[in-house]
Structure formats: structure tokens, C-alpha cells
């Protein structure tokens, strides 16, 4: 693999590449994110943002209690989020555990949801604590079952102890298994990496190793997709594009529960990475409760009043 000519696969070249990155000033990044959170999105732009956000949702269920029935219900909702309004777009994908991939794919195809992807969390999600053989098998199983997107977690232990090459090699291996069958999203668990410098480093490493998307969090650790973390990742994909002419996607996940939060994310995308990233192929939002709030805000914009929560479905 060429790694965009940025590294040659050796530890020395990876260290040099990561060492060339400028730091992130935490106070400044926080201030920039806070300023962008004051953007006031109204009227037609709000309507556009709501529909765009719906199309970017990776509708997620990642619970020990998941059942085929629960996943099938989620798939139905993913294809047609509002049963009373066919103008509501489908979501980007459903995101499930490995063993639910086949059930989700089959059900989506059955109900005409060929265009909705199935994302499988992988590599011993959420902790990433398993042998490489297990991580490879985990990924291979998901692809065999029909996953079109793999959301892998990195080994945060290796990252935090400075064994970057191990993390890099893992991403490269999983990338190979995904091949052309599945898009690869690399989850950093930014709540465990803690510093913005680490987030920036992880972003550039994952992109060079072949990630199609970089993703903030598993949703199992707080804080998750905070605005400054997403800002740092959006700056990374913007700068990576300037270096390679390749656009990498970003997926915040965890903690984005309402329309206001989702619109703030879109403002960050617009003003940091640029409007080219405002598409489900380059920006996804990992969420579950968010979708219903987007639907309720959409109804409110159409009807002029807030409906009871009983007018959106619980799946």
C-alpha cells in the first residue's frame, strides 16, 4: 500500500509524519467551537439542515439486549423515518453489532431499503481489547453477512502508550479486509484519548492508514462527540485533502440528541471543512434518539406547532 506517499509503513516514517503535525491549542479550539455554536439557523436554512441531518444519521442500536425484532424495527424506521410523510429522506445507514448485520441487511432489502447501508461495529467493539486474529475474524464475519460499512475501534491502550505503529498496522489490516466491499470508519474514542493533540494525531494516522471515515466515539464513553473534538477532526480532513486531494469523511457519535446539536454539527462542517463535506458520503451522525427530535422539528416547521411525542414512532 502506498499510504498516499505520506508514510512507507515503517515506524520511523510514521513517527516523522505524526511529528510534522502542528499542535492544537485547547483554549483556542474551544473558543472557535463556542463561537460557531452561536450561529443562528432559521427558516429555509433550518429546513434544509434538518433534512440533510436526517440523511446523515447512522441509526444505531448497540445494546446487549438487541433482538432481531428490535433491529428489524430500526430498519423500517431507517428507510422511512416518518410513516406519514414520504418526503422525509431515509437515513444514511443502520449501525448494529456484528451478529445483527445479516438480519438488518435482509430486512432492509425486503422493505425496499437497498439504498440504506448496514454498518457493523467491529474489532472487539467497544474496548478493542482482543487479539488481532479475533479482530480480523470479527470484521470478516460482518462483511460476509453483508455489512457495507465497518466501524472499527482503535486500540487506545497502544495509542496512549505511544505504540502508534501497532494502531496503524491494525487499521491497515482491517482496511485490507474491507477491500472494496465495505467503507472503513475508524473510531478513536476521543473521550479516552482526551487531548486535542491526540485527536489530531489519531486523525492523520487513520487517514494515512486508509480510513474512509474518522469517527469520534463508541457512544459508550463520555465525553463523546463534543464540538471542539469534531472541529479538530474536520480541520484534519480539510488539511488532509489539501495534501492528498482525497476527502475523508467524519462521523461524530454519542451525545448528539437534538436538532439544535445536529445543526451545530452541520455549521462546523460548513465553516471548517467546507460545504463539500455536507453530504452523507462525507459526514454521518451516529445517533438513536436524535432522529425523533429531527422529525418533530420538521413537523413543527410544517405545521407551526409542536406535536405530542406520540406522533413520532418509538422503535
Amino acid at each position: 500500500m502506498s499510504f498516499y506517499g505520506l508514510v512507507d509503513g515503517t515506524e520511523a516514517s510514521l513517527k516523522k509524519y505524526l511529528g510534522s503535525l502542528s499542535g492544537v491549542d485547547q483554549v483556542g479550539a474551544d473558543a472557535r467551537a463556542a463561537m460557531l455554536a452561536t450561529r443562528s439557523i432559521k427558516a429555509a436554512s433550518k429546513r434544509w439542515a434538518i433534512d440533510t441531518a436526517i440523511s446523515m444519521v447512522d441509526l444505531t442500536t448497540l445494546e446487549g439486549a438487541d433482538t432481531p425484532g428490535k433491529v428489524q424495527g430500526l430498519c423500517t424506521k431507517a428507510v422511512r423515518p416518518d410513516p406519514t410523510d414520504s418526503t422525509v429522506p431515509s437515513v444514511g445507514a443502520v449501525c448494529v453489532y456484528n451478529d445483527m448485520v445479516g438480519i438488518a441487511r435482509t430486512h432492509l432489502d425486503l422493505i425496499g431499503g437497498h439504498h440504506v447501508g448496514v454498518a457493523a461495529v467491529s474489532t472487539a467493539f467497544p474496548s478493542g481489547r482482543a487479539s488481532m486474529a479475533v479482530k480480523i475474524q470479527d470484521t470478516q464475519d460482518a462483511i460476509n453477512a453483508g455489512a457495507s460499512e465497518i466501524d472499527m475501534v482503535i486500540d487506545r491502550g497502544a495509542f496512549l502508550s505511544g505504540r502508534y505503529i501497532e494502531v496503524f498496522d491494525e487499521i491497515v489490516k482491517i482496511r485490507e479486509i474491507c477491500g472494496t466491499k465495505a467503507h472503513l470508519k475508524v473510531i478513536f474514542e476521543t473521550g479516552e484519548l482526551v487531548t486535542y493533540d491526540n485527536v489530531r494525531k489519531a486523525s492523520f494516522m487513520a487517514m494515512a492508514a486508509g480510513a474512509d471515515f474518522i469517527k469520534t466515539s463508541t457512544g459508550k464513553v463520555a465525553p463523546a462527540a463534543t464540538a471542539p473534538v469534531v472541529l479538530v477532526m474536520l480541520e484534519a480532513v480539510r488539511d488532509f485533502y489539501a495534501m492528498t486531494k482525497v476527502r475523508i469523511g467524519v462521523k461524530p457519535a454519542g451525545g448528539i440528541r437534538n436538532t439544535k446539536d445536529a445543526i451545530k454539527q452541520l455549521v462546523l462542517v460548513n465553516e471548517i471543512a467546507g460545504p463539500e463535506w455536507l453530504t452523507p458520503s462525507l459526514f454521518r451522525i451516529g445517533a438513536s434518539a436524535l432522529l425523533n427530535d429531527l422529525l418533530m422539528q420538521r413537523m413543527k416547521m410544517d405545521d407551526g406547532y409542536y406535536a405530542s411525542p406520540q406522533y413520532v414512532t418509538i422503535d
Binding site: S22, V24, D25, A31, T38, R39, K42, W48, D51, L278
Partner: protein
């Protein structure tokens, strides 16, 4: 899904319904609004709409205001305990917070600055200055200025148009906390928030004559400066006028503080956090349309990162939203006056003719009103006028350096010395540079941060004295040796 190439933000205008602007204003003297004799218009610089008629104070009005201030000083304010004075300041601060939206809307209408800045910076900081100084009022003997620090008496205060309400707060709050009474004149293009503040003084039941606000132009200012009944002059504005004031008060008993111009260096070292440095550069020069005395108007870039920083800076500048100051999403508003716009244009023309390379962010400027696109000049040297003179607009001059000492030498090579910025992730370098720079305020990895507890003021031609903190308070007390 509807296909759209970009995320166009719909207009999100703040309502101006919550302010009432009278057709004509008088002066606020001795606790009452009194009619003026002559008037001049004040306009909204974003639309050129005439907002109101402002009174022009002459000798009679200045005499009346000084007399009212003297009477209030000798009969009420100097006899009142610090604790009681503090109560009035706390009350003013709370009312300013309660009426914050009103102040913000009025400030943006009269000044042209974006509502986001008047709402999030000017008004909250102005209230914070009153809160901070309210706390000092009964603790003056603990300020390290001797056991019995005394007020000067009547303070004459002349403030500029760039932060009308905030500059009023910087002047009035410490003066009152220290026990002075004041005669304040706002700038001729931005009198409205000062007149609203006069209403707040009434609402707070501040004793009559403690605060007197008279409006007018430079001639009114000269009457204040030369008035024999005034004990202390505080001025914020241009270095040119500051020098005139210094000459005028030199043979008198008056003490004086001057907060004047600047041409601040914003130094970016190659080990800076580049994205945040770019934000800091933008905030340094485009905050408040660059109408900031401490603006980071000279970017001094290390050559090894100059191309990267400039490329990112231009991309960032292209995202600056220029337009209607009342829109909540506007980042850069209107130039305050036609006169100032002409001055900016003249200096930019000199930048062109002296060989600087001009680049302006692509943006549509409104047809009416006074506008100037965010602009940078590259290839600027120390010898260019745009590297030496204060432009006071959204125009950045970019210079480069090779070694840290060269950066310091260039930064200090100016008649001014108000502020400076340092961008580096290396702590030792930041500390070293901050000791070498000859400027009153030095920001490290940030810019244009203000706080009432922090003294603000300049070296050299940037002024005399400090405002804010204990240092600023001492300027309103006498019998005290100044640091």
C-alpha cells in the same frame, strides 16, 4: 433530498423593536435631561439612515455639567461611604444586565458593529466593569495605595466611537468607585448608548450630578479638557488628539490618563498551533472591523511557516460573513463613518503604491452604508506607511522574520506600544518574547481578551496610565505614587 451546494444561512436579524430612539436628544446634566441648543445627526453606518439628532454642547452646557458634578461631589458623593457608593455601582451593573439586549441593539445600530459582538462582548464586559469596581468602592484603603486614598474630584472623560458603551464603563466605573463625579462626552458618531446609560443612572437613582453626559464633537471635548473646574482628564482616542490634550493640561493642576493608538505586532512562530494562530490573527485584526486600538494590525510571521499560514488565513478570511450588523450571523459589520472609510482607503492606496500586495476576501458589500472587505497586504516592510501608521480598519499588514530576535526587533520598531501577541507552543519562548516586547498588554496564544481585573494601557505613544485592575483604579485617586 433537495440538492444544494452550500449551507446558505437564512437572515437571522435581531429585532430592533426593543429600542426606542427619540427624534432628538439633549444632555444629561444634574440628573435631568436638558434640551440642547444646536444639533447634529447621528446615523446608522450600515444604512446611512439618520437615527436621531444629537445635541452639540457649547460653553454653557459644559459649565453647567461641571458645576453639577462639583456640587454632587462636594455635597453628596465625597461624603458618602464607599459601601454606599458600591451599592449604586452594583445597581447600575444589574440594570445594564437586565437591559443588555436593548444596549446591544442600540450599539449595533449606532456603531455598525455586529450584534454578535455587542451582545457577547461589549455589553457583558461593560456590566462586568461596574461589578468589578463596585467591589473596590469600600476597599480603597486595601488597594496598596496608602491608608487614605482620596478622589480627585470632578473627572472629565472623553471616549471614542469604537466601543462606545464599553469605553464609558472603563471610565465611569473606576471614577465613581474611587469617589469622583464625572462629566463624560461620548464620540460624536456614537452617543446613543451613553444617553441610554444616563437613563440607567436615573433608574438606579444615582444622586443627581454624579454622572453628567454631554454630547458634541471635538470642540466640546476641548471645552472639557480646558475647563478649570475639572481635576482629572481621562481620554481614549487618537494619539494626535492625545498629544493636544497632554499639551493643554501640562501647565494645569489636572492629572491625566491617555489611552491612544497602536500598531500591535502579532508574532507567529513556526512552532505555533497553526489553526488557532489563524483564528487569533482573524480575531486580532477583524474583531470590531479592526476599529480596535490594540488590534493585531501587524502580522509578523516566521518565514518557514509563512506560506502555510497565509494560505490558511486567506481560506479563513473567505468565511468571514460581512454584512448587516443586526444579523446574528454577521462577523464583520460596517465601518463606523465615511470619514474613517476614506482614511482606510487612503492608507490602503499608499500600501498599493509602496509595493504591498493587496488581497481582499471575496464578499458582496452592501450598496448603502460604509463597508470595507477584510484585507491583507503581503510583502510589507518596516518602511511602508501601512506598517507604521494605525489604519483602524479591517486591514492587516504582513511582515516576515527569520530569527526570534528579528521578530522582537521588528515588533518593537514602532512609536506605539499598546499590545502584542505571541503564538508558540513552546512556553520558554513565549516567556522570553513577552519580556522583550515593549507593549502594555501581551497576549500569548490568544488575542483581544479583556477583563476588568487586568490593567490595560500602553508604552510610548500609546498612552499614559492604565485602565482596569488596581492600576486603573489608582488613576482616579490622588496622593498616591503611581507605578
Amino acid at each position: 433530498m433537495e440538492e444544494k451546494l452550500s449551507f446558505e444561512y437564512a437572515p437571522a436579524p435581531e429585532s430592533r423593536a426593543l429600542v426606542t430612539i427619540k427624534a432628538k436628544y439633549g444632555h444629561f446634566i444634574g440628573g435631568k435631561f436638558v434640551a440642547g441648543s444646536k444639533h447634529f445627526p447621528t446615523i446608522n453606518p450600515a444604512t446611512e439612515e439618520v437615527l436621531s439628532q444629537i445635541a452639540l454642547a457649547g460653553k454653557a452646557e459644559v459649565d453647567g455639567a461641571v458645576k453639577a458634578a462639583r456640587k454632587a461631589y462636594s455635597t453628596v458623593w465625597s461624603k458618602m461611604s464607599g459601601k454606599e457608593r458600591g451599592k449604586y455601582l452594583f445597581r447600575i451593573a444589574r440594570i445594564m444586565q437586565e437591559r443588555a439586549r436593548e444596549f446591544a441593539v442600540l450599539e449595533s445600530l449606532d456603531n455598525g458593529k455586529p450584534i454578535r459582538e455587542s451582545r457577547d462582548v461589549d455589553v457583558p464586559l461593560a456590566a462586568a466593569h461596574f461589578f468589578y469596581h463596585a467591589g473596590w468602592a469600600d476597599k480603597l484603603e486595601y488597594a496598596g495605595l496608602g491608608t487614605t486614598p482620596k478622589a480627585h474630584g470632578v473627572a472629565g472623560q472623553i471616549i471614542p466611537w469604537n466601543f462606545p458603551l464599553l469605553m464609558l464603563a472603563w471610565k465611569v466605573a473606576p471614577a465613581l468607585a474611587a469617589g469622583n463625579t464625572v462629566v463624560l462626552k461620548p464620540a460624536e458618531t456614537t452617543s446613543l448608548t451613553a444617553l441610554l446609560f444616563a437613563e440607567v443612572c436615573q433608574q438606579a437613582e444615582l444622586p443627581a450630578g454624579v454622572v453628567n453626559i454631554i454630547t458634541g464633537d471635538g470642540s466640546t471635548g476641548a471645552l472639557i479638557v480646558n475647563h478649570p473646574g475639572i481635576d482629572k482628564i481621562a481620554f481614549t482616542g487618537s494619539t494626535e488628539v492625545g498629544k493636544i490634550i497632554a499639551r493643554a493640561v501640562a501647565p494645569t493642576h489636572k492629572s491625566v490618563t491617555l489611552e491612544l493608538g497602536g500598531k500591535a505586532a502579532n508574532i507567529v512562530f513556526d512552532d505555533a498551533a497553526i489553526d488557532e494562530a489563524v483564528e487569533g490573527i482573524v480575531n486580532g485584526i477583524f474583531f470590531n472591523q479592526g476599529h480596535v486600538c490594540c488590534a493585531g494590525s501587524r502580522l509578523i510571521l516566521q518565514e518557514s511557516v509563512a506560506d502555510e499560514v497565509l494560505e490558511k488565513l486567506k481560506a479563513r478570511m473567505a468565511k468571514i460573513r460581512v454584512g448587516d450588523p443586526m444579523d446574528k450571523n454577521t462577523d464583520l459589520g460596517a465601518i463606523n463613518s465615511k470619514e474613517q472609510l476614506l482614511k482606510i482607503r487612503e492608507l490602503c492606496a499608499s500600501g498599493d503604491s509602496e509595493g504591498g500586495e493587496r488581497w481582499s476576501a471575496p464578499c458582496d458589500l452592501p450598496a448603502k452604508g460604509f463597508w470595507f472587505a477584510p484585507t491583507i497586504f503581503t510583502g510589507v516592510t518596516q518602511a511602508h506607511r501601512i506598517a507604521r501608521e494605525e489604519i483602524f480598519g479591517p486591514v492587516l499588514s504582513v511582515l516576515t522574520f527569520r530569527t526570534p530576535q528579528e521578530a522582537i526587533d521588528k515588533a518593537n520598531n514602532t512609536p506605539f506600544g499598546l499590545s502584542a501577541g505571541i503564538w508558540s507552543e513552546k512556553g520558554s519562548k513565549v516567556l522570553w518574547a513577552s519580556q522583550q516586547l515593549r507593549a502594555g498588554v501581551i497576549w500569548a496564544n490568544t488575542f483581544n481578551k479583556f477583563d476588568p481585573t487586568s490593567p490595560f494601557g500602553g508604552y510610548k505613544e500609546s498612552g499614559w496610565g492604565r485602565e482596569g485592575g488596581r492600576h486603573g483604579l489608582s488613576a482616579y485617586l490622588k496622593g498616591v505614587s503611581h507605578e
